[in-house]
Symmetry: C2
C-alpha cells in the first residue's frame, strides 16, 4: 500500500492569501476572515474577492474573481454560499492557487453529496488540495495565518507553543481552542477539517509528523475516511511524538449523529480503541483529558516508572491521591532508608514520614523544597505529584516560584494539584505559565501521569 | 436502637463567641479566627481569650481564661497547642459554654489517642458538645458565624444559598468551598468536623435534616464512626432532600491513608457503596461531581423521566452529547408529529429536525427560543440539555437572558453546556447567577441529569 499525501504546506504557511466572499458587512463570514488577517498582521499580500466588488474592500484593492488578481496566490479561503463554491474553486484552479480552505457548509452533511463530488472533481483536475468544506480551517500563530470565522473577542487566542490540535468538528475545535490559553500551554497549529472530502486526517497527520514545531498532536476524530492509512502514518508518528486522541460517536446513536454532522462513517468504538492502543495513541475519554494530557506531554520529561511521590499540605487530598494512584495503575515509591532518615530530620515531628506525605496545613515553600529535594535523590521515586492547596497560610507566590525552579530541572516529571477560586487561579497561572502543569484534583493528575507513563513504555518497547 | 444526637445549634448559630488563643500576631490561627468574626460582622459579643492577655486584644476586652468572662457564652473556638486544649475545654465546661469548636490538631491523627480521650471525658462530664479536634470548624453565612482559620483573601466566600457542605477533611472542605462561588450556587452551612471524637457525622446530618435553609446536603466522608446510625438518619433525610456523597479512602492503600489523616476506620468501599445506593444517596465519583450535582439539585425541578432533548449550535457537541446520554442511561425523546411539524416550519431548511438537534453555528437567541418553546410542549420531552457555545457569532448575552427566562418556568429540568475562555466565562456567570446550571461538557451535563433523575426515581419509590 502506497499512501498519497496531499501537500498542505501552502495552506498552513502561505505567503499570499485571497479571501473569496470578503465583504464590508461585519456579520459576513468573509468579513470576519479578512479582519482576522488584518488583525494578526499577516505579512504577505491579502486579496479580497467579491463578485460585486467595485474598487476597495476593507481598505484593500478588491477583485470580482480570483482570476482578476493575476498574481501568485498560495491560499484562497472560500466563504460563500454552497451553490457558488464549485465555480469559485474552478477559478482557483485556473488561477494557479496552491491550496484552498472551504469554510462554507451545505454539502454532504446536509445531503448534498452531489455538490461535494463536484468539488472533488475540480480538485483532482487542477491538483488543488482543499481543506473542508464545512470547517473552520486553520490557525498557525507563527505564520500569522488564521481562517477562523469566529469573532476575535469571543475566543481567547493561545500563546505560541508545541501542541497542534486537529478537530474534525468546528465546535469542539473552537471551544477547546478557547480553553488552551487558560491551561497555560502553547499552540503550534490548529486545524478544523470538517467534511474532509480532499485533505483528510491522513494528510494532516503526515504534515504534523514532519513539522518541527509540533511536539504533541491532539486529535478530535469522528470517523477516519482512510482508516488503514491513518493508522499506518500514526504508527510512525507515535514513535516520535505522542498523539492524544478522542473519538466522537462511540455509542450506537452517536455513530449516526457523527454521520449527519461531518458525513463521516464512524466505525465501532471497540474496533477503533483496540487499534489506537496497539499503535501507541494516548486515548482521551473526555474533552478535559485532551487539555490534561496536552500540558503534561508539552512540558514534562517521559518516564517509564510508575512510582509517584505525593506530598501534600492537605490530608484529605492525600487520601484522594492514594485512591487515584490505585485507580490508574500507579503506586507509591518504597523510600530508601537514607531518604526516610533525611526526611525525619528535616520535617517537624508531627509529619508522618511516608507516602502520601502530609507535610501539614501550615507548610511553606521552605518545607516543600526540603521534602522535594530529599525525595528527588531517591532512585525509587519516578515522578512527583505535589499538592499545593493555596487556601492555606503557607502556600503563596514563593511556593509557586520554588516549585517552578524545582520542575525546571526536568529530571523527573512533576505535576501539581491545586483547586480553588481567584487567589488559587492566579497562582495556577504562574505555575502553568512556567511549565508546571497543574490539575484540579488528584484524580486528573494521576490520570495524566498514567498517560505519560503509558506512552513512555510504548515508545521504549518500539524503539 | 435509639440514636442520640448531640445538639449543635449553639455551635452553628451562636449569639456570643469566645476565641481561645486570640492573638495580635497575624500569623496565629487565633488571630485569623478573631479577624473573621470582625470581618463578617458577627452580631453578638466576641470575647478574645489568651493566657497572657493584659487589657485589650484586637480592640476588644481580653481575658486570661474563659472563666474570667462571667457572661453567657454560646460558642468557644479553641485554637491553642494540643497539650493545652484539655484544660481550656474543662474551663469551658465550668463556664457553662454551650458548644465548642476545637480547630487544634495533634490528637489521634498523630497517635495521641490519650489526649483525645481526655477531651471526650470532659465533654461527657459537662454535657458539652464539641466539633473537632483537627478541623476547620463551621461557616454559617446567615448567622455570620465563621471559624475558618484560612486567610480571607485566599478563599472566595460563596453567596448565601441552599447547599450545606460537610467535610471530614479540612483541605477538601476548604478547596471545594473556594470553588462554590465560581459555580454560582449558594451555601447554607459549611462544616469541617475532623476527628469527630464527640460531634460526628450522625449529629451533623441530623442537624441539617431539620434545617429549613438546607435544600441539598453534600458530604465528603472518609469513614463513619457510627455507620449504622448514619444510615438510619440518612434514610429519612433522603426522602426529604438529596445527600450527595463522596467517599475518600476507597482503595486498599487509601483506607490506610484515611486512618492516619482523620483517625477514621474506613471500611471497604464496596460495602459503603451498596449501602449508599440502597438508601438513596447520590454518589459522586470525583470532587467535581460534588459541584456538578449540588448545582442541579439546588436549582432544577425533579423528574423521573430520562428523555433528554438536546439542542446545540455545534455539531461535534451534539455527537458527544449522544455518546454521553448513552453512557449515563439517558435517551432522546421520540418527538410527536406535532412537534416535528412545528419545528420544520420554524427552523431553516438546513437544520435536521431530530435529536440531537443542531440548529446551526449561526443560531441566535430567537432560533434557540423557537426550538425550546416547541419542544417544551412535547409530552415526550422530560428535560433539556441546551448547548450554547459562546464562541459562535449568534450566541450572546441575549441568548443567556432568554435561557434564564425559559428555565425560570421550572417546568422541566434545564441544564446548559458551555466551555471556553473569558467571553464564555462571563456568560456562564450570568446563567449560573440566575439559576441555570452550566456544565463544561455534554458528559458532565449528562452525569448531573442522570443523578437528578436517579434520585427522583428513588424518592418516588419511597414516598
Amino acid at each position: 500500500m502506497k499512501t498519497q499525501y496531499a501537500d498542505i504546506k501552502s495552506i498552513m504557511d502561505p505567503k499570499s492569501v485571497a479571501v473569496i466572499g470578503a465583504s464590508e458587512k461585519p456579520e459576513k463570514v468573509g468579513h470576519i476572515i479578512m479582519q482576522n488577517y488584518l488583525d494578526v498582521g499577516f505579512q504577505g499580500p491579502i486579496y479580497p474577492i467579491n463578485i460585486n466588488a467595485n474598487g476597495k474592500l476593507m481598505g484593500r484593492q478588491a477583485y470580482r474573481t480570483i482570476l482578476d488578481v493575476k498574481k501568485p496566490i498560495d491560499l484562497a479561503v472560500i466563504a460563500i454560499p454552497a451553490e457558488m463554491v464549485p465555480e469559485a474553486l474552478e477559478q482557483c484552479g485556473k488561477a494557479g492557487v496552491k491550496g484552498v480552505v472551504i469554510v462554507s457548509g451545505g454539502f454532504a452533511e446536509v445531503g448534498r453529496k452531489d455538490l461535494e463530488e463536484k468539488l472533488v472533481k475540480i480538485s483532482k483536475k487542477y491538483k488543488l488540495p482543499f481543506i473542508g468544506p464545512n470547517c473552520l480551517g486553520v490557525m498557525d500563530l507563527r505564520a500569522r495565518n488564521d481562517t477562523l470565522f469566529l469573532p476575535t473577542y469571543k475566543i481567547d487566542r493561545p500563546k505560541i507553543g508545541g501542541v497542534s490540535f486537529v478537530s474534525q468538528s468546528g465546535s469542539v475545535g473552537s471551544s477547546t481552542l478557547d480553553l488552551i490559553s487558560g491551561e497555560g500551554f502553547g499552540l503550534a497549529h490548529f486545524i478544523s477539517y470538517g467534511n474532509a472530502s480532499v485533505v483528510d486526517e491522513v494528510d494532516i497527520l503526515n504534515y504534523l509528523a514532519n513539522d518541527p514545531d509540533t511536539k504533541v498532536i491532539v486529535f478530535y476524530l469522528e470517523g477516519a475516511r482512510r482508516g488503514k492509512e491513518f493508522i499506518e502514518v500514526a504508527r510512525k508518528v507515535t514513535q516520535q511524538k505522542p498523539i492524544v486522541i478522542i473519538k466522537g460517536g462511540i455509542s450506537p446513536a452517536g455513530v449516526g449523529a457523527a454521520h449527519s454532522h461531518t458525513a463521516s462513517l464512524a466505525g465501532s468504538y471497540e474496533a477503533y480503541e483496540a487499534v489506537f492502543r496497539q499503535n501507541g495513541f494516548v486515548i482521551a475519554d473526555e474533552l478535559d483529558d485532551l487539555l490534561y494530557y496536552a500540558k503534561i506531554f508539552e512540558t514534562q520529561p517521559l518516564t517509564t516508572g510508575n512510582r509517584i511521590a505525593v506530598i501534600t499540605n492537605g490530608g484529605g487530598h492525600g487520601v484522594l491521591a492514594t485512591d487515584a494512584l490505585y485507580k490508574y495503575g500507579l503506586t507509591f515509591p518504597e523510600l530508601t532508608k537514607k531518604t526516610t532518615t533525611a526526611l525525619r530530620k528535616a520535617m517537624p515531628p508531627v509529619v508522618n514520614v511516608g507516602m502520601p506525605m502530609d507535610i501539614g496545613g501550615e507548610a511553606n515553600s521552605q518545607r516543600y523544597m526540603e521534602a522535594l529535594n530529599i525525595l528527588n535523590e531517591d532512585p525509587n521515586v519516578d515522578a512527583f505529584m505535589v499538592i499545593t492547596l493555596f487556601q492555606t497560610p503557607g502556600a503563596d507566590e514563593k511556593l509557586a516560584d520554588s516549585l517552578i525552579q524545582f520542575a525546571s530541572q526536568k529530571k523527573k516529571p512533576v505535576v501539581a494539584v491545586a483547586t480553588g477560586g481567584n487567589y488559587t487561579k492566579t497562582h495556577v497561572a504562574l505555575l502553568e505559565g512556567s511549565g508546571v502543569p497543574v490539575y484540579d484534583s488528584p484524580t486528573s493528575a494521576a490520570k495524566a501521569l498514567s498517560a505519560l507513563i503509558g506512552y513512555a513504555k510504548y515508545k521504549k518497547r518500539m524503539i
